[in-house]
């Protein structure tokens, strides 16, 4: 009988689920937003449907991400640091450093033999996170998806001095009103955020290869800005948003394997696919 593992990554912005056995069988990405959080089970159900499995077929469920504590149907909670490390170790084994740019935080992880050995994390200030771009995109009236592409057409990148997200928004709007071309502003934003990320992740003594994960990796402008800072190109997994969820599923698989090897009983929670009680 084949064993199936699920990883669920409840991020601050996006909820991601993958189901794996030896390979990835299904994945779903949905927004986290406050009203969606209680629907974590729906995202899970959808993934199961895509994999044509029922919840009882799943051997082990690992939850990760910012909302991991609130997943009643998970067997174990593991931090996104370990999950991203595991995910990258699997997807891009040559990577030594991971930079994960999520919705509300940004992490740097140092890898050795596919395991996290050190990490840094910023979540004190929104600058340097996906939210920075979301907020400013909104201020500029640009779709988030277009930010990266637009910035690549910049001619004179403008400097953005504010690091506070809210103030940066105003700064860019003022620049726009002053007639500065949109691409130049967006490129400036990418540069500012790349500098923040680079300074923070630099604490780990960045080693090649560098893998970029999380939503920020979907932004080509940001990727380019970071590459300019690093002086070399980075690796991006095919779907960077899923890295943590894949890592979670894999860690679940590791746990099951290890318990089997050591012939110790597998500890599983009394789980059932129920609504996550995030709201009362």
């Amino acid at each position: 009988m084949s064993e199936y593992f699920a990883g669920i990554d409840i991020g601050s912005t996006m909820t991601k689920v993958v189901i794996m056995n030896q390979a990835m069988l299904a994945s779903v990405i949905g927004p986290t937003g406050p009203e969606h959080r209680k629907l974590a089970n729906r995202v899970m159900e959808e993934a199961l449907a895509r994999a044509s499995l029922s919840f009882d077929d799943i051997t082990y469920v690992v939850a990760t991400g910012y909302g991991r504590i609130n997943v009643p149907f998970a067997d174990k909670q593991i931090t996104e640091i370990s999950c991203h490390a595991r995910g990258v170790g699997y997807l891009l084994p040559e990577a030594r450093t991971v930079i994960d740019i999520g919705g509300q935080d940004c992490k740097g992880i140092k890898l050795k033999d596919g395991r996290a050995v050190d990490f840094v994390m910023n979540d004190k200030c929104a600058a340097g996170t996906g939210r920075f771009l979301e907020v400013t995109a909104e201020g500029l009236g640009v779709k988030l998806d277009d930010m990266g592409r637009l910035s690549l057409t910049a001619k004179n990148v403008v400097g953005i001095s504010s690091t506070c997200t809210v103030f940066a928004e105003r700064e860019v709007v003022a620049k726009l009103s002053d007639g500065v071309p949109l691409p130049d502003i967006i490129a400036g934003l990418h540069e500012a955020i790349a500098a923040r990320i680079y300074g923070m992740v630099g604490r780990l003594k960045i080693e090649r290869e560098v893998a970029l994960t999380g939503g920020g990796a979907k932004n080509i402008g940001l990727v380019k800005a970071l590459e300019a800072k690093l002086g070399y190109s980075v690796l991006v997994p095919p779907e960077p948003l899923l890295t943590g969820a894949i890592g979670a599923a894999l860690l679940g698989r590791d746990i099951v394997k290890k318990t089997a090897e050591n012939k110790i009983p597998l500890l599983r929670s009394e789980r059932r696919l129920q609504e996550a009680t995030l709201f009362t």
Partner: protein, 264 residues
């Protein structure tokens, strides 16, 4: 009849006021959006339409606010602090301390018996002390900005907040909800946080009665209540607190128009 206009291009909202003989003929408020130049034209145009006037009817226009320099049709730019002072003097001649809760900053200032601003303080370099904080929260809680105040008054047990950053207030609010807090209690907590920051500024400047509260934040009755309780005194709040600077700008425009008349 001499018509003049005051345009206040704020960081969050743009306001236009048309007056004649020091009486408000019409006013209009729209979000500032991504292009101040167009916004200015739009908000002024709307206000004029309401007054059944056209741009040609306006003798003099004073622009103020964050995006004042983008108002292509203005005759003069005046700092918003002077406009606020003028507007307050018109509305509440007895006010000596004024709190202005705007989109990016909170300002506290003192005005003298002629509406001149003699001292002021601006909130710190962080959006957490401004009205923007409320906007962020309104969005995350999926309620209309207008409803914030009413809702927070229903709070039974306030959730205490302590965050430095407006953007993070959002995630803090989400986690508090996850912990089971109600929207009402969260709002009440945020109001308290904001009010405490504002209170600190007022105390630093030294409060003198009467105290007026203006700016978009003054439309939030929950916040007003929280500030009133914190300061332990009553507050003068205009009917439409958001247009005070624009009104002041219009009044200054009127003075200017008059003096030009005299010159001719």
């Amino acid at each position: 009849m001499v018509y003049v206009a005051g345009i206040d291009i704020g960081s969050a909202f743009s306001k236009a006021v048309v007056i004649a003989k020091s009486e408000i003929i019409s006013y209009h408020i729209i979000p500032s959006g991504g292009n101040y130049k167009l916004t200015a034209e739009e908000v002024a145009g709307e206000a004029l339409t309401k007054a059944n006037l056209s741009f040609e009817d306006i003798d003099y226009t004073v622009a103020t606010g964050y995006g004042a320099s983008n108002v292509s049709f203005s005759n003069q730019v005046v700092t918003d602090i002077s406009c606020q002072g003028r507007g307050i003097f018109y509305l509440f001649p007895s006010a000596r301390t004024v709190i202005d809760i705007g989109g990016q900053f909170t300002k506290v200032f003192k005005v003298d018996e002629r509406g001149r601003v003699t001292a002021f303080l601006l909130s710190e370099k962080c959006a957490a002390g401004s009205g923007r904080f409320l906007q962020v929260i309104a969005r995350v809680l999926q309620i209309d900005l207008e409803d914030i105040g009413e809702l927070s008054l229903k709070s039974q047990s306030r959730v205490d907040f302590n965050t430095g950053c407006a953007v993070f207030a959002e995630s803090e609010a989400i986690s508090r909800i996850a912990e089971g807090a109600s929207k009402e209690d969260i709002l009440a907590g945020l109001h308290r946080t904001l009010a405490a920051k504002i209170q600190t500024m007022v105390e630093r400047l030294g409060i003198e009665p009467d105290c007026a509260l203006v700016g978009g934040g003054a439309k939030d009755i929950g916040l007003v209540k929280s500030i009133r309780e914190g300061l332990g005194r009553s507050l003068l709040v205009p009917e439409e607190p958001q247009i005070v600077a624009a009104l002041g700008a219009a009044l200054l425009a009127e003075e200017k128009a008059a003096s030009i008349e005299v010159c001719h």
